[in-house]
């Protein structure tokens, strides 16, 4: 990349500089004997053009909006428009959550992100025994289309894009969204949004699985195929590293395991007869913005380059949009401390900044109080304002990929790319991501990293301000947001009403049609749309599929 003469001169000067430093270091050593980031990548004292001497700029870095997209997926990035500010929210009933959404939209939020409660995510209605204690707790509870109609009341679905964190029952919630839009007079072809729909990371890191891998992959490819015709602007999957990182992985593992999952989905879709350029542009991703600022910036850049090479070289995609990794980012929930919670505002701010410097397409910033409970309104407001401060005040948005070309950032990007590629090779050897999860490999890698991280904190090798250094006496926080246990009872009442009002014969017929389709190969999506429109409940639809598909039995990786 540099003139040979220049390189020679820099080498000479670098040598002189190092020699001069030696005696000084002997007298006054650095803070640590070895510096490394969370991925265990050793960090040099300083990076120079020598580190980039062998690199091929156009091949590895290139220009924004061009392969391999290291510098960003759009040519103008935030000079054109800012990322979508999208706060993940949902609690209690659809009525409560609808109010929070309208508050967030009034505050200048530009997209919605739905958090569902655990019974909804695992396919139980609120009246299921296992739903006791959980209804409305970590998200909004949705039992039927009725709730979904309330959730989006007075929110124009032709204008707002919605992301839904829903995996095993993603087809059902998408069907409900389509049905609500239809009632608003919005055709499915005009809908924009995302369903998470990423089952593999549920097995390896997040835990809200229902069905075994094979039928789960089939539902996913049914969704790909249905949406390519009926909901063409929809992101049919959000392949998520976020939860892998939250579960304890390193940055390199986050990239590797996420893209390995991505490979498995692409393979499944191709096996189902789909063309890679038909569904490829609708694949989206979701990453974590963790503490190590520069490692994170490099991680996002490396992930873009790696996915582009995988799609082009491995899957022979032709459409550049298939090669672009478009991603959402959330700041790292696991780095929030219960101690000195206001410090979390600052942690979130620089994590968010790393996502912006890494070229994210949308962003959620965590609230300072999330180590205690669901966020309160003031905390959410500060979190959202943090994004607005970065966008409108910091100036980092006026030049595309402003850290690109930094010797250190480019070196780190390359290092993460190489190390994640090596992991993907290893997963290929194990038979792909689904097999690697079945063998417990990915879970073990993640939990080993989590344990190492915790031990580092306990041995004071890793400092967490307020936890193992700079502690202060403080009072417990008050007025935390709590979900009334009565939410479950009111949902049960609603369900009783629903089952009285609707045409039960029709629901029964559609559910048996669904079971028949599940036993065969027909696309399940159109029948699921019919089922939700007839007010079949989420639990009933999932039960019908459970009968045919069975339930996933996790592998143990402890002991």
């Amino acid at each position: 990349m540099f003139d040979e003469k220049d390189i020679g001169e820099i080498k000479e000067e670098y040598k002189k500089w190092s020699d001069k430093l030696e005696p000084k270091l002997a007298k006054r050593p650095e803070r640590k004997a070895d510096f490394a980031n969370t991925s265990g990548i050793p960090l040099k004292r300083v990076c120079t053009p020598l580190d980039m001497a062998d690199s091929d700029y156009m091949k590895e870095v290139g220009l924004p909006g061009e392969y391999p997209f290291t510098r960003g997926v759009q040519p103008t990035m935030y000079r054109g428009r800012f990322w979508t500010m999208r706060q993940y929210a949902g609690f209690a009933t659809a009525e409560d959550t609808n109010k929070r959404y309208r508050f967030l939209l009034d505050q200048g939020q530009t997209g919605l992100s739905v958090a569902f409660d655990l019974p909804t995510q695992i396919g139980y209605d609120s009246d299921h025994p296992l739903a006791q204690g959980e209804v409305g707790k970590v998200g909004v509870t949705i039992d039927s289309l009725k709730d979904m109609e309330i959730l989006f009341d007075q929110i124009p679905l032709d204008k707002v894009s919605s992301s839904m964190t829903i995996n095993s029952p993603a087809a059902i919630l998408l069907a409900m969204y389509i049905a609500v839009a239809e009632k608003q007079g919005v055709a499915s072809k005009g809908l924009r949004g995302t369903i998470q729909n990423d089952i593999l990371k549920e097995y390896s890191a997040r835990g809200t699985y229902i069905f075994p891998p094979k039928p789960s992959m089939r539902i996913i490819t049914d969704i790909f195929s249905f949406c390519s015709q009926e909901v063409p602007q929809w992101n049919t999957i959000s392949i998520s590293g976020y939860h892998i990182r939250e579960a304890g992985s390193t940055a390199v593992q986050e990239v590797a395991f996420t893209l390995a999952d991505g490979i498995a989905y692409v393979e499944a879709a191709i096996d189902a007869g789909l063309d890679v350029d038909e569904f490829g542009p609708r694949l989206s991703f979701f990453f974590n913005a963790h503490l190590d600022f520069l490692e994170e910036v490099a991680k996002f850049r490396a992930a873009r380059r790696l996915w582009a090479t995988i799609m082009r070289d491995r899957f022979k995609a032709k459409d550049p949009r298939s090669m672009m990794i478009r991603f959402h980012t959330q700041t790292a929930g696991c780095t929030l401390t219960a101690q000195q919670p206001k410090n979390n505002i600052v942690r979130v701010a620089f994590q968010a900044l790393s996502a912006v410097l890494g070229g994210t397409q949308s962003l959620h910033t965590n609230s300072m109080d999330e180590a205690f409970a669901l966020p309160g309104e003031e905390a959410v407001q500060i979190a959202l304002k943090t994004q607005q401060l970065i966008a409108y005040e910091s100036g980092v948005t006026d030049t595309v990929d402003p850290l690109g070309g930094s010797y250190y950032i480019e070196e780190l990007t390359k290092e993460i790319f190489d190390r994640a590629s090596a992991y993907i090779d290893k997963i290929d050897e194990l038979g792909g991501a689904a097999e690697a999860i079945e063998k417990g490999f990915i879970q073990r890698e993640i939990q080993d990293s989590a344990y190492r991280y915790q031990r580092e904190i306990e041995k004071d090798e890793r400092i967490v301000v307020g936890v193992n250094k700079f502690q202060i006496e403080e009072e417990a926080p008050k007025d935390l947001l709590r979900v009334d246990p009565a939410v479950r009872l009111s949902q049960i009442e609603k369900l009783k009403e629903l089952r009285k009002e609707r045409d039960n014969g029709r629901v029964k017929d559609i559910l048996s049609e669904l079971k028949k389709a599940a036993e065969g190969n027909d696309n399940l999506m159109p029948i699921i749309v019919d089922a939700v429109k007839a007010y079949g409940t989420l639990g009933e639809i999932c039960d019908a599929l459970r009968e045919v598909f069975g339930e996933y039995q996790p592998v143990s990786t402890i002991g």
Binding site: L118, P119, Q121, I122, L130, A131, Q132, G133, E134, K137, V138, E202, A205, R206, G207, T208, E246, A247, G248, C334, T337, A338, Q339, A371, F372, A373, L374, Q447, A450, Y451, Q454, R455, I457, E458, V464, V467, A476, P477, K478, L480, R482, V483, P485, P554, S556, T557, I558, G559
Partner: protein, 133 residues
């Protein structure tokens, strides 16, 4: 307690939440400290937890929950233990449990609640010093 027998701990996730990073870290730490750990995995009902603890004859039940469902599930587990006449198992809890809930949790017999930022060494010591048999 028989000094040759290792301390047996049931590490478990009641309810539906999938956040198992904490409990797995603790399970590893307890094993490193010489204890025997039975980890149940996710989504255990109160009935399953109590049954497993009795069958496996564990000295400790370590409950981890981050969804906020502790207010229903912890009392349910304690009630079932009481119903079975079990009073010599040390029950501890952790996860996202608001401070203001801790007194009521202790009242029903959860010996200690360990929140975010807890050192695993402290949990090891706590168990060693507070066994009920």
């Amino acid at each position: 307690m028989d000094t040759k027998r290792k301390i047996r701990v049931l590490a478990t996730k009641p309810g539906l939440d999938g956040h198992d990073r904490g409990i797995k870290v603790i399970a590893n730490a307890l094993m490193d400290a010489g204890m025997e750990v039975i980890y149940t995995g996710l989504r255990q009902s109160p009935e399953q937890i109590v049954e497993t603890a009795i069958q496996e004859d564990t000295d400790v039940i370590a409950l981890s929950i981050l969804s906020g469902a502790h207010d229903f599930l912890f009392p349910k587990i304690m009630e079932l233990l009481k119903g079975k006449g079990v009073d010599d198992i040390l029950v501890i809890g952790g996860g996202i449990i608001p401070d203001e809930d801790i007194p009521s949790m202790k009242e029903i017999g959860i010996a200690e609640i360990f929140g975010p930022g807890t050192y695993t060494d402290d949990i090891v010591k706590y168990i060693e010093n507070n066994l009920k048999r």
